[in-house]
């Protein structure tokens, strides 16, 4: 018994305890994933007992909160799609130009000042962007586009694009930065201008890294919630018209969560089915993005 209590043994037991505790912390992430899948799966499974999966995937109306119930996720998917598309039309060209400027043209000092300021954009709470989209951007756009509704896909799409911009520019710039400077020097030695070096050497060389940032940006746009909840409206619509109120998957989940739909009803189960759809979309996009990033890393090891 005495040997059990000697210092070394006690220390060894203590070390093992610490090891186990740390392992537990690390494995919590696995439990989180399992938790997400189970939480979504059970309710979604119940949902599909009452609604056929064919209707869910092909019906073009989504009216679970009305008397005449339709469960066609396509109208929410269409809303999510149009807002994300607008966001990408803003974020991708601006993001890539911004990345090229910071990586190939700007002085180091300019980059040091501008990059952190741009990153502030990514740190602003999304509810603030929602406010700005609804009360500043929409009225501004209305003065150009008379037919624009108070709630629409265009304004939150543009604002979301600016929000995602720093992510695209920052990740693309990192990818461009990783391109060996010998490639650039080779091109310069042949008399190429900066524009030619940027577009014909650096961007193609960093392409998979840049694409990875685009895909991740799409995933962020698809999962973004508050901007669209505030500024895009709550009218599920199977249409790609950016000027009228629509509803995204995320905004629908918020709408139901705010109401007093009792748990266990089919109306309430819809948010888990919608959540599952969203989870599958974003997971697929994240996996593609990671795959592209890994590929890029292997090219320049």
């Amino acid at each position: 018994m005495k040997s059990f209590l000697d210092r070394r043994s006690r220390q060894r037991i203590f070390e093992r305890g610490i090891h186990a505790a740390l392992l537990l912390c690390a494995s919590l992430s696995i439990f989180t994933t399992i938790g997400i899948i189970l939480a979504l799966f059970f309710e979604t499974f119940d949902f599909f007992k009452e609604v056929s999966i064919i209707e869910f995937l092909t019906d073009t109306q989504w009216t679970p909160l009305f008397v005449d119930k339709h469960f066609g996720i396509l109208s929410l998917v269409a809303g999510t799609f149009i807002v994300s598309l607008i966001a990408m039309c803003v974020a991708i060209p601006l993001g890539i130009l911004c990345a090229i400027y910071l990586s190939e043209y700007s002085s180091p000092r300019f980059r040091e000042v501008v990059k952190p300021i741009l990153e502030v954009l990514a740190g602003i709470p999304t509810v603030v962007y929602g406010y700005f989209a609804l009360l500043f951007v929409t009225p501004l756009l209305k003065s150009f586009i008379p037919g624009l509704s108070g709630f629409n896909a265009l304004s939150p799409g543009i604002v979301m694009g600016i929000m995602i911009l720093p992510m695209v520019s920052s990740m693309s710039e990192d990818a461009m930065h990783a391109v060996p400077s010998s490639l650039r020097e080779g091109a310069y030695a042949l008399g190429a201008t900066r524009f030619q070096v940027a577009t014909k050497v650096v961007v193609p060389a960093a392409l998979s890294g840049i694409m990875s940032s685009f895909v991740l940006a799409v995933s962020r746009a698809v999962g973004e919630t508050m901007i669209v909840t505030i500024a895009a409206g709550q009218q599920p619509r199977f249409s790609l018209n950016p000027l009228v109120p629509i509803e995204t998957i995320t905004a629908y989940i918020v709408q139901v969560s705010l109401g007093d739909t009792p748990a266990g009803t089919i109306e309430h189960k819809t948010i888990f089915a919608a959540g599952m759809t969203l989870f599958i979309f974003t997971l697929a996009l994240n996996l593609i993005s990671n795959w592209l990033k890994e590929r890029f890393r292997e090219e320049y090891r």
């Binding site: 989180t32 997400i36 709470p125 700005f132 500043f136 969203l278």
Partner: protein
Amino acid sequence: MNRLAYNKLVDRFFKLAALAATIVGLVFLFTLVWDIAHDGAGRISWSFLTSFPSRRPERAGILSALVGTIWIMGLTAVFAFPIGVGAGVYLEEYTKKKNLITRLIEINIANLAGVPSIIYGLLGLGIFVRALSLERSLLTGALTLTLLILPIIIISTREALKAVPFSIREASYALGATRWQTTYRQVLPVALPGILTGTILALSRAIGETAPLITIGALTYIAFLPESVFDPFTVLPIQIFNWVSRPQKGFAVNAAAAIIVLLVLTLILNSIAIYLRHRFQRRIRW
């Protein structure tokens, strides 16, 4: 025009376009800040900070939301910091070779970082609200946000630990220290500023989160202060959302004023993080 002059012209034009694109983001940021300051600065007063919400916009305040935000932030920090650092330490210091389990955990963390926040809300609803019957309490909110920001803390902890030179660990082992003694007394103190920076940045993300807390059922109207972790709550972003969704002009002004308070809180957190990072870079040299 000869070829060379043409190429130079294209180059110059492209440079201007790229500069313009860079400036768009900056202009947008300044417009946003100016618009919100313009709308809301006049509304901020002591009574705005110390009143409960009300049906009349001019009487309403953010007391319950502000107190709720402070509670949630405190609880989230208490849960997320030890767990995140523990997980980071395990993955960086306790796994010699990359075996299947650590690979799995790593891929998993990378994927979790990309899961939309509203999905964490559904997780919180399914696990904490229903399965553990914690209801729509502060505890549920804090645990949900903990799971949300854990990947960020784990990733930044690992980065901070990686920056500690290996010789420090070897010296400690050579003196007969155990793995935990080495980690706790040598590696962690050196990596701490980096870890704290990452944790604070994660918290500054959590402070603005709205969607997951709405999904777990946090209330939008509360006229009392929580007294224990099992009480219902609201937070600043939810209060802002609630005011933005109302048609009366007075509530939009309130929303702008509340946004200023929220942005100031976020700014304070970020400044602390920047300060720590700065200090970290200066002090330690090997």
